[in-house]
């Protein structure tokens, strides 16, 4: 009996020592990383380390910079800002991934989701509005039992687009007004999406700002870019900008002319991003960029992307100026040098050429929508 107890105690002791040593090694590794980073101009690279998610969760969680993280591996990227006040999301992904997204968010913070900002009228960006929104808390509504304006929807029903009235228990969902127009419909007509997926607060101006988690946050509306309802979100203190589908590192940027997008709007928006970003040292690190799809970027990557689209646009433009037909311009293969990186079946280099050609020839014409 004594021998068993001694063995058990020894096991517990060894486990404790192992735990302490494991923690110590982890701490030492972090210290070593910091030591290297302080010597190197290229570092830091916060996203180089994966943040562990619960087993079975197929998503990836990466730190971008400051208080900002990225959930990747789903149909679109979701940007997460955390802090003492709560959680803010840029984009909500699809409804199918919402449970996994909530799991990932809980790895970072136990605080509620207070805000969601939709960047584009595409379901892979707003599809999770309902589930994530309902899981969150409206920061402008006082908790039950407390007095004050908007303590319940009945006491202070508000009016019009008042978020307290629409979703009193959930997070506020911001979007550009044109996104709401795309999802909703006039009374009596069938909307594209049910009410629960609509944003709860919209704006029609070029910018909208809020302060959250001790950080100034700018919502920027690039006119006529991917669509006419796009939003980019700049986290001033963390020095991160989430661009939505203005940038997609997995394919050419999709400018949907049927929904108010344009190649010129894409180029203008990319130049806006370059104006905002500041490298830390010799065109390295500094402001980080979270695209709608794909990997984390900094200014140099955005410049490469902007240069690519400018060059392709110029090649098509020159072909038109030389009197070439669309077929002749396609035969020049203006996207050959970029197709290996960015041409995908749903939005090929040829489709990009056609869309640019149509825009340059007939600015008001319409092009097919990519799936």
């Amino acid at each position: 009996m004594i021998r068993r107890r001694a063995a058990a105690l020894a096991c517990v002791g060894l486990s404790l020592v192992a735990l302490v040593l494991a923690g110590r090694v982890h701490a030492q590794q972090s210290a070593t990383d910091l030591m290297i980073q302080s010597r190197s101009q290229e570092q830091p690279q916060p996203s180089a380390r994966r943040i562990a998610l619960p087993p079975g969760n197929p998503l990836e969680l990466l730190r971008v910079d400051g208080n900002v993280f990225m959930i990747a591996g789903g149909p679109s990227n979701i940007t997460v800002q955390i802090g003492e006040e709560g959680v803010l999301l840029v984009d909500a992904g699809t409804a199918e991934m919402s449970d996994r997204v909530l799991e990932a968010i809980h790895v970072l913070s136990e605080r509620p989701i207070n805000y969601i900002i939709d960047t584009a009228p595409d379901k892979d960006h707003y599809g999770g509005n309902e589930k994530l929104g309902v899981a969150g808390v409206n920061p402008t509504v006082a908790p039950r039992g407390l007095t004050g304006p908007g303590s319940t929807a009945t006491e202070n029903p508000g009016g019009g687009n008042n978020p307290q009235l629409l979703r009193p228990q959930g997070a506020i969902v911001f979007a550009h007004e044109n996104l709401l127009h795309r999802l909703s419909a006039p009374t009596g007509e069938t909307p594209l999406e049910p009410f629960a997926l609509w944003p709860t607060s919209t704006f029609f101006t070029r910018t909208k700002t809020i302060s959250f988690n001790d950080e100034a946050i700018e919502m920027l509306h690039p006119a006529a870019a991917h669509t006419d309802g796009d939003v980019m979100v700049f986290f001033r203190k963390s020095d991160v900008i989430a661009t939505g589908d203005i940038i997609n590192t997995l394919r050419y940027p999709f400018f949907d002319r049927t929904r108010g997008g344009s190649i010129q709007g894409i180029l203008d928006a990319l130049n806006d991003v370059i104006d905002i970003t500041v490298p830390r040292f010799n065109q390295m690190a500094g402001t980080h960029v979270v695209p709608g799809h794909g990997r984390i970027l900094n200014e140099a990557d955005v410049v490469e992307y902007r240069d690519m689209m400018t060059i392709i646009r110029d090649r098509v433009k020159l072909g038109i100026e030389e009197g070439k037909t669309l077929t002749q311009i396609k035969a020049m293969r203006p996207t050959l040098d970029y197709d290996g990186l960015y041409s995908v079946p749903s939005w090929t280099g040829e489709m990009v050429i056609e869309a640019i050609y149509e825009e340059l020839r007939q600015p008001a014409s319409r092009t097919p929508t990519a799936p």
């Binding site: 690279q45 060059i311 290996g340 990186l341």
Partner: protein, 301 residues
Amino acid sequence: MKRVLPFIAVSVLLASPASAQMDLSGEWVAHTDEDQPHRVPGAELGDYTGLPINAAARQKADSWDASILSQPEQQAKPHPAQYFMRGPRPDVRWTKIVDPVSGRLIAYTMVGTFGRADRTIWMDGRPHPSAFAEHTYAGFSTGEWVDNALKVTTTHMKTAFIQRNGVPSSYRAVMTEFFVRHGNNLLMLSVVDDPIYLEEPLVRTQNWVLAENQHVGPAIPFEIVDELADRPRGWVPHWPIGTRHTEFAERFGLPFEATRGGKESLYPEYMKKIEQLKRDVSAIAGAKAEQPPSPPTEPTR
């Protein structure tokens, strides 16, 4: 003897990695006598000789206009990992990073490349980052000893170049380097594998000598200035499709096609093709000589 044999075997097994692993830390001065014109002045416009590039890379390189270096965003770019070990020098310092508790080698750092995209070569077995992680000019490098060579695998590099005349390398490239120390000499063999822009892996070598009187100084930031007052927003200079940069071929008396690179041009048999191309060019020139003269061809924007 039977009792001793296992100990000898274990000792030999344990000793062999230690004897193969050389300390690479120190200051190393580069030898740039190999391919000096390509490295120090830099390759001429349109010179793709010795590069196993494909048609996509050729088109991107032909479009490259040196004026793009006047873009404010391009002026302070460092040389990228795919190129900096074979650029002008680099004289570098390798430093060991040792875990203060276990004494284990955690990493080597290497500093001194142009623009100071300083490298860290992780030796602690950590995995490479997610495909969604940021790509950098230095890339993400891990190292392991293979016999007497330090094998370094680098991923997460930026879309950049493998030669300073616009020959591209994509962010999907993977670079494998082997560093071997022979006394005070350090040899590197690098292999860049790029599924987007190369037909075959690009293989290059480089040498350094230990330099006890060298000290790589601090990293200096490059200043960005406005070089052009009338530069419009979003200005991206480039040569149009179809531009033929023929100056290099003309200067060295080579057929233009022989300057275009490609995997075929890497092998000795290509010399025969160059001779054939020369004969073809002579035949065309002979035929043209019988016709009235035409103005010289120059690149046009």
